[in-house]
Symmetry: D2
């Protein structure tokens, strides 16, 4: 079994490796690490650390650097994609450019998420075109953000089997278990929506719903919120909504609060989240280079991405046939959410079993969230089409459909900014 | 044939009467004028003017004041509803309260439209309950704003036959004819969407599409825009959209421009649109009282409501069986727009014939407008339920679904403002 | 305006011409008559009679024979298709072959209808391929049977604008008017379903429903039944169904009665309907050849096809822009009938206006007819695919979906019979 | 944990008990056996045998007879329903009456299935009404035939949690494993359709599809067929269908063969299947009464119902929270099969976990089976309504929608027969 990691020069990679080491089923696996030439230094660092970690744990996994994409993909059973087009430098622009227009600056949501998607779709399509030639039966596990949009692009334009992953659902599951003070295995969470736009519709402990009780006790204040700032009063909002939103929903429901927070962090010299992550990452690579380091450093936690390797290994194990699992992933709808088309990629619970992913039915979306989900899905689909057709018109229409953009004039200006800053990744829109 | 006008004390009524006088099929009709006791002076003024107008035209129509709702409705074949709960004074609050929160202040859109709906739904339901007893087979022609939401409330909670009317579609039709420089009869416009949220998807002259040509020539700059300010650059936006939006869509696509415009008008002492209309109305009633006035005064044009009587008489004539017509009205969807549920009230072309209204099929909505329409329909349905169930929770959820409200905190505050200013109309939300 | 008749050597053509002569809008039209070489004698006969009829009525229409399909189609605005692949000889086989298996033998229903469809689809596709080159903007008015299936094939595999016509809906309308004893103009009938599988869901006189009354009075005994034998007790069945079925539904609801009737007619020497029609047709052509005949002979009535020219001229006039009409035709669903896919061709009321056909919405089908309509639509779609893909497998699956075939073994045998008798029209199925 | 068996006097019960004994999680369960007074002898026999079996296996389960339904249901966590209204005597009529009309006589399909449903729905509704009072949170495991229709009736008219079970899907799974010559655990079968009208759309071994290979090798000749006679040539039919049908589909695809088989068995003195089962049952009870018998007798196999206890215990264990499973059961659709309404009960793979059943999405049905499934679902829904509304009209419409009835006249006669023979169970239809 060969597993290829695309974008392996990421600071996340030791976290993934650590997860793989824990599962005996990967013991005899071959791990191919691949990244672009500009990341070759970091790739080497990650490779060496990984081998030191394996050695210490006495694991025989064959971990090597693939010099070419061809070498990386050939014969792969799983491809784990976690690259970031333009690296953190681009992410920082994703965050800073919208702020200049008084708009939320975030790497997966709003204008920043759009820039990110437009840069990333061409690269993701390149990857699957190569997979079609070199490993057409492999599963692509896509962590590359914005994960839902990338997964939709791949499913619409390729037959490569692809699951979009995100660690938010698992974090919410673990938080729910903590709130209930029970073992996570006794908890079931049902999730509906889109990536970074999903909601828990049900939390049960031992098959008995505890959701109303948790809501009534205002248990969600700052609990199910990670990576994104804690919003005061969210617990009261949840008691109106009667559903538990992903923390990313705060950008929609508390837009002005979140915007102010971002502006203040810049004013206070903290910089954007991307800038903070950049310095964490630099520190991490300094640590990684230390030839005495033989394990994942504690510092990595700060990077975000808790449970990142957990969900990846759970998914791969299930696809390999080790116990089927029920897990929220990004996958084509097929009727699970009645308000979206059959082929829209949604984030909802699926049964993952040997070589198979099947969404569970939910029915019509609750009326209080149906509108926003349909609205954002329209934005996502137009974004995918804008990228694939290199259409400036569709790019503007996509942004007009995003409620965080606030209208046509911003849409036009942001598309211009995008062309200026990211033209080399996106190509010339017409 | 008895036609009852509810809210007949309105300054619009002479316009309606003028329309009825033009159609010989109403010659022998009985017209019952009804309004609330507080409007009895204005009702008398309108009644007297109407009779002078009829006398001058030598028309034998029996026009009389009905003292009670019972007297007004008994035996009616058509009920034309055009009331405004709380009168223009309430409209002015609808406009001014949101502005205090930096939000669009408008009588049918955003927070103001929500206040208006919440005040009006209980009164509309009272009306149809009376109709169920007194004239269960009559058609209710609803002009009362927000027309789409009121029509949805009536269809969901009563079996009274009801069509929601608005003069915007007809204005757009006439403007299209003017742009093409042809007789309006040669033009066909197809409209999809919701009231004050609709789009022309097709304009044909003699069965040949002229839409692309009109768009390419930038013909829509300030042309298809009435009642709402002209936005610079809309023509370019339309060339992206490839559909002709109702002028009310400007509140969504050019929100900040529209907001600034409203704030400037207040700063400049012009007041809100409602305040401007109030002074027009007062001048009109001064004119109406003149016993020498025997016709609709030219001043009435300024009131807005062009073609108001045209669409009403067209509709009533068709329902009576005089030629069936194809006309955009507000009516339950029944499959016309594939993205909305069967029973959602939509604004789209219907065939109106004797005692029958049937929407024409359209299919899936264009992706560039699907999201917003689904989003606003979710807002509308939650508004109807909030009113009928007197639910504070649903009122907040409704506003959270309206993109002009910008999130949860505003939603909560606006519901509080509503309770304070309009509690007597709305009842106590729980 | 040029109107081309494909299959003009038919005995029906004088009926069509008679209809065109009645409408002044065709006065200056050019009529191109086209048929295959083997029908040149009959074509000449029809041509000469048509010109004598025009001369007598003093009509200046230019009626001429087109020697080639190219000449026939070039510059046409309307193409009226009424051909029969294999002529009446093939129809007689359509009737006789199934009877050998104890199955209904009918030209549009059951196995016979399937044979007919499989022979005709390739010819219809040839026709539209030629239209795509020679008159891409022309409307194809398809009378060629089985009209619904042929129209579906054309819409799925070509962009030529095509309406499928049948005279059954109009006959039912006229019969309803006769039953109500009122002028047909005062009657409105709403029809849903598929061609030769449709139902009246509503009959109104002056906008008031009279359906229940007619049903309660058992008015439908043999009234709304033409071309197909009268079934005793149908009136009682209709009182259960609460809908008025097309007479062709008798083949499904009274299969054994209809089968016995067919077998008896053969035993009694009457022959099949096709054989009866053949002798009527021969007599008609004897009459047509008489140079003194200058009008449509009364004998033509017996041929069936009442109102054939009426519906064709109504449709063409409406497409030309002379008054829009509401008329049941065969056209892609687009959401009119909620239980069928958007692109399924259905027979239901459409608004026909200048250059445009739009189905009216109906909503979900009544449960008592939903199953059969879905079943037959599955049969129809598989038939179209079987023909286009030359797939023996799909041919068998199509017949397995037709409840008049009674299972797999008959399906296999009938496909073999088809290959033997009609192979030259159908091609080799694989 | 209390498990109640309704209809416990059945000869199947020792099979169920045997299954429960195998699972340690039922060790401390209380088993309440209930049947109608007329079955008290058989109930006592079953009770005594069950206790002897438990004693021999040294199992402490508390197995007792409940004298009243109230006593049986009070405090139950699971209710297993397996009763037969009118006993085998009624089944024999279900088989014999249709044969008199030349129609398939079968206990769950065609006219016999209809009789059975009409007798059983009132009793099933009585049961759930009692459960609503006595054990509103219990799960009802419904084996009572026709299982799909009964489950639909319960879901439409009660909130009791109910799963419809059948052993056919599990038998097909086991047969598929045998065909592949692998351990059943390595096989995954996906099933879509309705009870006794379902199809395998996928068979995988270790996640790799083997369906095409099995089809190409003609592996299905008489293999996946139990309880119903083996039809020659079915393997060839399956190669056209490209799906593996439930053996009950043979009644539709090979109707005349199956009918002949039934008639021959009567002619040959074998009697109907019900008559054969009756004598098996009598022999079984003779065995059961033997106080030395302490285990399920081998003879029980002949009764049919292989894996009956397997599926029941699998389901109950999963609902109790012991491992979630993926298993075809009868449950409301909720979007799993796109062609059927949200609330239609379907037979398809569901995830069963603690206190929860969720169908897996499938999407649109394959065109070759869509029609029949929609047709039979229409029949089933009308049957449920006919019973609940005591409507003769709907009973006739239901039968008109069943392709094994062949039209209106048979429908009328069969409803009359039903009233005569089963009136006491069904009540008076109006």
């Amino acid at each position: 079994m060969k597993l290829t990691i695309i974008g392996a020069g990421s600071s996340y990679t030791p976290e993934v490796m650590d997860g793989l080491f824990k599962e005996s089923c990967f013991d005899s696996a071959e791990i191919a690490l691949y990244d672009l030439p500009e990341a070759s230094d970091r790739l080497k660092t990650v490779h060496d650390l990984s081998n030191r970690m394996a050695y210490k744990k006495n694991i025989k996994m064959k971990i090597h650097i693939a010099d070419t994409l061809e070498e990386a993909l050939k014969g792969a059973s799983f491809v784990l994609s976690q690259f970031r087009v333009g690296l953190l430098e681009a992410r920082i622009l994703d965050e800073r450019i919208p702020l200049q227009y008084g708009l939320i600056g975030q790497e997966t949501t709003g204008a920043g998420g759009f820039f990110n998607a437009m840069r990333t779709i061409p690269a993701a399509i390149n990857l699957v075109r190569a997979m079609e030639r070199l490993c057409p039966d492999a599963w692509l596990i896509n962590f590359t953000n914005p994960s839902g949009i990338i997964t939709e692009a791949i499913h619409r334009y390729s037959n490569i089997k692809c699951v979009g992953l995100c660690n938010v659902p698992y974090n919410m599951h673990m938080d729910a278990a903590k709130l209930c003070n029970v073992d996570p295995e006794r908890v079931y969470c049902h999730m509906v929506g889109l990536n970074h736009l999903s909601y828990l519709t049900e939390i049960t402990v031992d098959g008995k719903s505890v959701m109303q009780e948790l809501i009534d006790k205002n248990m969600f204040d700052g609990q199910l919120v990670k990576n994104v700032p804690k919003v005061p009063g969210i617990s009261k909002m949840i008691s109106q909504l009667q559903l538990i939103p992903s923390p990313y929903l705060q950008y929609y429901y508390f837009e002005s609060f979140m915007l102010e927070k971002e502006l203040n962090e810049i004013k206070d010299g903290l910089g954007t989240r991307g800038e903070q992550v950049l310095s964490v990452q630099n520190r991490l690579f300094d640590l990684y280079k230390d030839p005495k380091l033989c394990e994942k450093p504690a510092e990595l936690e700060k990077r975000g991405g808790a449970y990142y390797s957990t969900v990846a290994t759970m998914l791969i194990k299930a696809l390999l046939g080790h116990d089927s699992i029920n897990m929220p992933v990004n996958y084509p709808n097929k009727g699970a959410l009645a308000d979206l088309s059959m082929d829209s990629v949604v984030e909802t619970n699926c049964i993952i079993s040997k070589n198979s992913v099947r969404p569970l039915t939910y029915g019509p979306l609750p009326p209080q969230i149906r509108g926003l989900i349909c609205q954002i899905k329209a934005y996502e689909s137009l974004t995918v089409e804008a990228s694939m057709e290199k259409s400036k018109k569709k790019a503007i229409l996509a942004l007009m459909n995003n409620p965080l953009i606030h209208g046509y004039n911003n849409a036009c200006k942001l598309v211009e900014e995008m062309q200026i800053h990211f033209g080399k990744y996106i190509g010339e829109l017409r």
